[in-house]
């Protein structure tokens, strides 16, 4: 099919050299701009979900619920020491009582904290790799021998709804992407049909002189491909500009809020491939439309 680009100049003249139909490249450019933005959003979400999911699967918090502050501090030190000896743990960071109070103060209020409500001791633990549930159960059992009231809270548990939402958005982005591809196909089919009607006389002459369906289809494919490439180029440039601007805004925003929200490098390759894929799809649709129409002639 790529050889269709290499049609000799004299064969290209069989249908006027102008673009297939005036607005088609621009319609393709607009659709592709939207498609690329949707794809970029999808890729960012997928990247963030993957990164965040991996991070969360490696993190958990140990809670030691002991009323007496001295005993709580002793247990925290004991558990911390134990965890630091466990293989596969990258970091163990016990939080001081002051840090814990600061964390829960916005939720419970300073007055309640001043009323000497016991707060748990917290230890932030990060594994090298994501851990299976069985490993966590084993670890929990070991820790309970040190502190019977210990609790292990995997971060993935409380972030799960958020990541479910991200996955839903990802599915939505994929659906919109497919719908936009369908719209592109429809635009191509309509444009090719219109051009077929305009050049029906020329095609009939070619046909009666022994031209094959494929020869006619190649002429249309080439023009559709050029239109799609042009539209793709414009759409890609516009989308790249928008994404670059958004990236700058993201970088300027509070980093902790948007940690993990970044457009991956491989995403640019995928985005660059989309206009080419749309061109191939447009050529395929043009070929299919022309051959179907010509089959109605003897």
């Amino acid at each position: 099919m790529l050889l269709d680009f290499a049609l000799p100049a004299h064969d290209r003249k069989l249908i006027p050299e102008g673009r297939l139909s005036g607005p088609m490249p621009w319609v393709i450019a607009i659709i592709l701009f939207l498609t690329l933005l949707v794809a970029a959003s999808g890729l960012t979400l997928a990247h963030a979900a993957q990164q965040g999911g991996q991070d969360l699967a490696r993190q958990f918090t140990v809670q030691i619920i002991v009323t007496d502050p001295f005993e709580r501090a002793a247990k925290r030190a004991e558990v911390t020491q134990y965890l630091r000896q466990v293989d596969g743990i990258r970091s163990v960071e016990p939080l001081s009582d002051a840090s814990v109070r600061k964390l829960i103060e916005p939720v419970l209020g300073a007055d309640i904290l001043d009323a000497d409500i016991p707060v748990p001791a917290l230890i932030d633990v990060r594994f090298v790799h994501a851990q299976a549930q069985a490993n966590l159960r084993t670890l929990r059992a070991s820790l309970r021998r040190i502190a019977p009231d210990v609790r292990l809270d995997p971060h993935s548990a409380w972030m799960a709804p958020f990541y479910r939402l991200m996955h839903m958005l990802l599915v939505l982005a994929g659906t919109v992407f497919l719908l936009l591809m369908a719209a592109t196909s429809a635009v191509v089919i309509l444009a090719v049909r219109s051009t077929l009607n305009t050049h029906r006389g020329t095609l009939e002459i070619m046909h009666l002189m022994g031209g094959t369906d494929l020869q006619a289809a190649r002429l249309f494919q080439r023009r559709v491909a050029l239109d799609a490439l042009w539209g793709g180029f414009v759409g890609f440039c516009a989308a790249a500009f928008v994404m670059a601007t958004l990236s700058d805004q993201l970088a300027a925003a509070e980093p902790s809020l948007l940690a993990g929200v970044a457009f991956p490098v491989y995403g640019w390759i995928i985005l660059a491939l989309i206009p080419l894929a749309v061109t191939a799809l447009a050529m395929l649709m043009a070929r299919f439309t022309v051959i179907s129409a010509l089959k109605k002639m003897l």
Binding site: P8, H10, D11, K13, L14, P16, G201, T202, E204, I205, M206, H207, L208, M209, G210, G211, T212, Q215, K295, L298
Partner: protein, 246 residues
């Protein structure tokens, strides 16, 4: 001892057997056509307007399939011929359309070169023959002109040049001399005659029966209300010269 038509010993180019053609559900435009065309023959097809000449030509250049009967072209059954094999057969048939049907956005040169390009002839190989043809029809100076810039007669010459450039085995022409002056008409008939001598079977539909005398050995087919007739009343053409055979 029996009589055998001596032309029947030759391989026919076209055979029509009891062919009928109707468009949609209307009455038959062509009825019970049976004839055989042999290589190197020259036929004038005459008949009043609406007699079915153009419809018969359409069957000859494979633009339509008949409603009934059998057609053999180049020894193949044209009715059962698969669609994907038709282009190969069409390339062996040159057609001059009554309304010329030149491609409006192509130059004179490109219009004439069209059949060769469709057949996949390389550009360097077709330039010579097309230039020669342009010179022959007297339009070398107008090689770059679009059809809209040509007169009716010039367009007709381009249409004829396009039909003959590929040295077709059958040349079908619908009123090819209708828009040209008598001198050009004679030149065009000489071109057809020259092609005919090289083996091309020529079928010319015309109102002008006087053209018959300009081509040596030409025969006439006459259509009346979609039926083929001849002075002897036979429906089979060409008239059958008979040879005695043991």
């Amino acid at each position: 001892m029996r009589f055998v038509p001596f032309l029947a010993l030759m391989q026919s180019v076209v055979e029509f057997d009891n062919v009928g053609l109707r468009y949609g559900t209307g009455a038959e435009t062509l009825t019970d056509l049976s004839f055989t065309l042999y290589p190197g023959s020259f036929y004038f097809m005459t008949g009043a307007s609406g007699a079915g000449k153009t419809s018969l030509l359409k069957l000859l250049y494979l633009a339509h399939r008949p409603s009934r009967g059998a057609i053999r072209i180049f020894g193949h059954d044209a009715i059962t011929l698969p669609r994907n094999r038709l282009p190969g057969f069409r390339r062996r048939i040159g057609v001059v359309f009554q309304d010329f049907r030149l491609v409006p956005h192509l130059s004179t040169f490109d219009n004439i070169a069209l059949p060769l390009r469709i057949a996949g002839i390389a550009e360097r190989e077709l330039r010579g023959p097309v230039a020669e043809m342009l010179a022959w029809i007297g339009l070398s100076e107008r090689a770059d002109a679009r059809p809209a810039m040509l007169s009716g007669g010039e367009q007709q010459r381009v249409a004829i040049a396009r039909a003959v450039i590929g040295r077709p085995e059958i040349l079908v022409a619908d009123e090819p001399t209708g828009n040209v002056d008598p001198e050009m008409a004679l030149r065009l008939l000489q071109l057809f005659s020259a092609l005919n001598k090289l083996g091309t079977t020529v079928v010319v539909a015309t109102h002008d029966i006087h053209l018959l005398r300009d081509v040596e050995g030409a025969q006439m087919m006459r259509l009346d209300n979609g039926r083929l007739s001849d002075p002897t009343g036979s429906l089979r053409y060409p008239p059958k010269p008979l040879v005695l055979r043991n």
